[in-house]
Symmetry: C2
Subunit: 309 residues, 2 copies
């Protein structure tokens, strides 16, 4: 029997990957909130640089209690909604199911492990530029690789597993590039190298990635913060090579102008993912990231004002 997939959070990210999997014929069940009625009637639409497509009918749910048990649960909620996990995961993960936390920053797998400690928990790190532009309507701009890594309660590298390899097979069959990391901590910190400076600076300075790179001051600032993240990773026992920072800068220079998802959340007056992308890493780095800490404080100020407005 084929693996049944649940997508928790059918937005820019969950909607994109879920639609790709469903298009490939996999059995995908989508949990929605605001867009539920629309998607139940009209399905999902994906505009993508790899080709547009529409799924006029998808298995859409507005209530987790209506979903069948799923062998693979892809969690694509914002981390600001992780307080909902206790009311979601136990109701949808099948007996020998696996939970894949497709979220930003640090702390997602720990949050899932608290709720379903007996299940296999993976990180699914998404290198994806995509936005939700309307109900059930996703615009995929660039990239799309998913990197899978296994969570272990002791925080140490946990190697790879059969279920990870099976997932790579499914993803590949759906045209999603996927690879494996044997060290979740390293993979998460590497991803933060880009995310930490670019997300926060784009909010504080109201700028997209191209503007931040075009100005030599903010480019130097982004680089300095990237080096701090490398130092933070080292505090957590993860070695990121020095030339990784330059690679991230070069990649950003080559990228199309992009609004980080945190910027979109902020502009829409939604809460930003500050704890996963800033708070948890800053605390884990115990003082090794002073500039990042300053950005975190600036963002907390803006988030407070945004939410009280």
């Amino acid at each position: 029997m084929a693996r049944r997939y649940a997508i928790l959070g059918t937005g820019a990210l969950g909607g994109f990957y879920g639609a790709r999997l469903a298009r490939a014929g996999l059995d995908v069940h989508f949990l929605l909130h605001g867009d539920f009625r629309y998607v139940r009637e009209h399905g999902l639409m994906v505009e993508s640089k790899d080709g547009d497509f529409v799924l006029p009918r998808v298995q859409a749910y507005g209530d987790i209690r209506d979903m069948p048990p799923c062998e693979v649960v892809l969690v694509a909620l914002k981390t600001t909604h992780n307080h909902l996990l206790p009311g979601l995961l136990p109701l949808v993960v099948a007996e020998r199911g696996v939970v894949v936390m497709m979220q930003n920053g640090l702390g997602s797998e720990e949050a899932a492990a608290k709720v379903v400690p007996e299940r296999e928990i993976l990180a699914g790190l998404c290198f994806l530029c995509s936005n939700k532009v309307g109900p059930g309507h996703i615009r995929h701009l660039d990239y799309g690789t998913v990197r899978l890594a296994k969570y272990a309660a002791d925080g140490r590298p946990a190697g790879t597993s059969d279920s990870m390899r099976a997932l790579v097979q499914d993803f590949t069959s759906a045209g999603i590039r996927a690879d494996l990391s044997d060290d979740l901590g390293l993979a998460r910190w590497q991803k933060l190298v880009w995310n930490v400076p670019m997300s926060g600076l784009s909010v504080v300075l109201d700028a997209d990635t191209r503007e931040l790179m075009a100005n030599l001051e903010t480019r130097a600032l982004a680089e300095a913060m990237m080096r701090e993240v490398v130092a933070g990773a080292r505090v957590c026992g993860r070695q990121i090579r020095e030339d990784f920072v330059q690679k991230m800068i070069d990649m950003t220079l080559a990228m199309a102008p992009y609004q980080a998802s945190m910027k979109i959340d902020f502009d829409q007056k939604k809460p930003m993912e500050l704890e996963s992308i800033y708070g948890n890493p800053v605390r884990a780095a115990s003082g090794a990231m002073p500039l990042v800490e300053m950005l975190y404080r600036q963002l907390e100020f803006l988030d407070d004002r945004n939410r009280s407005a």
Copy 2:
């Protein structure tokens, strides 16, 4: 013969002090730019917590070449206009005249000394909350003390002079509190303790002093930056006591909400005084102010965009 005063730059600061001196019967000559015609016809109006007053006729000039030689030249231009000093100071400073640089940050006295090296040059540090709200119309919100300090080319404490004491006498007679510092470097760095965090954060976060203090994250950030300025002063051989930071925080908490002048410049799309308040101190502190440097870079980005818009 009474000392003749020149005010170069009749705005929120020069207009306020000049009007006070003129009201006290001193011989004050005002250089204006945009407001020249208006002020020549209507004079100056000061709204002040110490009492409003109008000077219907003042000695106003639109061209420095029309001004008489003055024994005291109060320079109240923005530091972003200091490239104009060579065309101004030599034409207006009397033979034994004194130049008082009533500007923010570091580097003003050096700039004046390059132009009129044989004249006595003072810093006039203004602890003043005032805004220009219309042509020739100044609103004085709070404070107003002027601290005078003598410039020496070697950068060392230069003590006090007869002309400084004479100035204190004139200022006092005009209802302006004035005091003397025997160490210009110490006085300038002390003033930066407040100015550096509050000016820049108010621009980057679009906030007034009260909002920045009410939020515990930005208050902690302002404190951290104040401590960096104390460390920067130490690099330049100036000891600021530890409790000075707490005094500045307490003062700001007690203050009426205030828009720093840099914030007003930014909102009006004028160039900000970045070099005097950030660039020169950052370079002088040689690495002791990393958070301040980050703020400087953020401000440079915003200033660039503001001016290209």
